[in-house]
């Protein structure tokens, strides 16, 4: 976590942006083959429902590690009518360090190997998709995320963890390690003949990892708060907090003491956990609390439009943070963004995107919604897996 840095970019030295110059899709979702040329300015994709706008953003999201903005399986990305040609996505990008070429796709299936994705960086095969974390900075906001604000803690916690990954690639390994230890413990408890010493070993690992996870989350929250406090866009300010056993204690107790507290809590919960088949306490119970600051109202109770605006404010702050951290503005994918926003908020969003200097990819069904962007954005129409410049 020492990798975090936070210093404002000086005006004269505004960070450059990561930008796609050429994008090619093969056999991907409803695309057979398509190629787009664009420049660093924002891009607007318009078209009727089902044309392939979200699919295109999904393709871009696969330039980063992970499973993309729909968390799809590799097989689902495969064009259904072209099943013999493994899908592929390729992009020529501009970065502050010079040109970058990324190619990724499903590995041709061969007997005895698992479905996996291949990644090439500047023509060289990479060990895994994780290698993309280094050259690529990318994030998105989708309609599915709207529900996140009002829905349960699980969705919000996963969202927060996803935000942490881009800053701190080790966070993924931490969360997986914690889950593994937790599943081991539950299995032992369920079998009912667990040796206390073995359980204590697992709980000790869980406690250590939970504290590391909580610390990374708090770190993220602190940085986001700083950026939110400085931002001057007209979106409602969200007040954010990470809440959970470890998170709550870490604010005023040393990490080792919190580890001990957690270990004791795990040990106390054994018989209950065995009975219910779940773990009652731990890093997997934490929540990201979001509050509408001006109204002093929890996000859950805000209107749909207000929730969307809070989420946008949060993501704008996140993009700003990424920009500072990476010394370049990330790719920012905004799916169906015009929905739920009145024209005033829409204009504010466009201004904010412009100020961020990032290559934003926006989608919508109605070109008129993006009229304010017309002077400088590039417009494409997406119909039936075909993309045409407007």
């Amino acid at each position: 976590m020492g990798a975090f840095k936070l210093h404002a970019p000086t005006a004269s030295n505004a960070p450059a942006a990561l930008a796609i110059g050429k994008l090619s899709l093969f056999s991907f979702r409803n695309y057979t083959e398509v190629r787009i040329h664009c420049d660093a300015a924002p891009i607007v994709l318009v078209g009727a429902n089902g044309g392939g706008k979200t699919n295109l953003l999904e393709a871009i999201s696969l330039l980063a590690p992970g499973r993309g903005l729909r968390r799809a399986l590799l097989a689902d990305l495969q064009n259904r009518t072209l099943s013999s040609e493994p899908w592929g996505v390729a992009a020529d990008l501009d970065t502050p360090d010079g040109p970058l070429v990324i190619g990724t796709g499903r590995a041709p299936c061969s007997e005895g190997t698992q479905d996996h994705r291949l990644v090439h960086i500047n023509g060289q095969p990479a060990r895994s998709a994780n290698a993309l974390a280094e050259p690529i900075a990318l994030t998105w906001i989708t309609p599915e995320m709207d529900r996140l604000v009002g829905e349960g803690a699980t969705a919000r916690r996963k969202f927060l963890d996803r935000l942490v990954y881009s800053f701190d690639p080790a966070h993924g390994a931490r969360v997986r390690r914690y889950d593994k230890a937790m599943r081991e413990r539950l299995r032992l408890l369920r079998e009912g003949r667990a040796e206390a010493v073995w359980l204590a070993g697992l709980e000790s690992d869980m406690a250590q990892t939970a504290v590391a996870i909580a610390a990374a989350r708090l770190h993220m929250i602190r940085h986001l708060r700083t950026v939110l406090a400085e931002s001057d866009d007209p979106f409602p300010r969200p007040l954010i907090a990470a809440r959970g056993t470890a998170e709550d204690q870490l604010t005023d107790h040393p990490a080792l003491q919190v580890e001990d507290t957690l270990r004791a809590a795990f040990a106390r919960a054994r018989s209950d956990d065995a009975q219910h088949g779940t773990c009652a306490v731990g890093a997997h119970r934490s929540d990201l609390r979001i509050t509408h600051r001006a109204k002093n109202c929890p996000a859950e109770s805000c209107s749909t439009g207000e929730q969307k605006a809070l989420l946008i404010a949060l993501m704008l702050a996140y993009v700003r943070l990424l920009t500072i951290q990476r010394d370049m503005a990330p790719l920012f994918l905004l799916d169906d963004i015009a929905a739920h926003l009145d024209s005033c908020r829409r204009a504010a969003l466009f201004d904010a995107l412009r100020a961020l200097g990032c290559q934003a990819w926006l989608t919508g069904t109605d070109q008129d919604d993006f009229a304010a962007l017309a002077p400088y954005a590039q417009f494409f129409r997406v119909t039936d897996g075909q993309v045409t410049l407007l």
């Binding site: 190997t113 390690r177 073995w198 204590a200 697992l202």
Partner: protein, 197 residues
């Protein structure tokens, strides 16, 4: 019926680190060089299968039982290093930093994979640690959940015996496996080992 060629390729492809394509390449290569490569290989495999034994003391693989390491008089019998697998033992030997004796556990505790204490060579370890000659037991287990849980478990069992129990230093990458570490990192982790349990 598979042809003998396919049969061989299929079997090779089951080995760790070998995919179907490289298996076929190996088969073709061997068939092209039967005298120079294939027959000598058959011969070495037969001899290894017949002669390599698992040491009943430490679990290492070697030409004799007890193995060469257990009978080497220049090695320090007061130090016992516990590793998960023979591969890890060899990694320690490659790094040339440890001059004591070894104990191969044969795996790590895992509820999900059904590996319980009785499935590992733990009783044998406790017997050896009880031996008056042993002063320190070093737990050189991988930094995985299973490795660290097993280390915790062993420490709890070993401390009451009255030996000093140490663990590799936490300079090890999280989830890091000894077998994949470079020799320098391994040496540093061993030198900076700390008291456990």
């Amino acid at each position: 019926m598979l042809s003998p060629l396919d049969h061989l390729a299929r079997q090779l492809a089951r080995l760790p680190g070998i995919g179907p394509r490289s298996a076929r390449r190996m088969v073709l290569h061997m068939l092209k060089k039967r005298e120079g490569v294939m027959y000598p290989l058959i011969d070495s495999m037969t001899r290894a299968a017949e002669q390599v034994k698992e040491c009943t003391t430490c679990g290492n693989l070697g030409g004799s039982d007890p193995c060469e390491l257990c009978t080497d008089r220049t090695r320090d019998p007061t130090l016992l290093c516990v590793v998960e697998s023979v591969a890890d033992l060899w990694a320690m030997e490659r790094a040339r930093v440890f001059r004591g004796r070894y104990h191969v556990l044969g795996g790590t505790l895992s509820a999900l994979d059904g590996v319980r204490p009785a499935d590992l060579r733990i009783d044998k370890l406790l017997t050896r640690a009880n031996d008056a000659g042993v002063k320190e037991v070093i737990l050189a287990l991988n930094a995985t959940v299973e490795g660290q849980t097993t280390a915790h478990y062993l420490a709890e069992r070993l401390v009451p015996i009255g030996v000093s129990v140490t663990r590799l230093a936490h300079g090890l990458p999280v989830g890091g496996e000894l077998d994949h570490l470079d020799d320098g990192t391994l040496a540093a982790a061993l030198l900076a080992r700390r008291q456990a349990g």
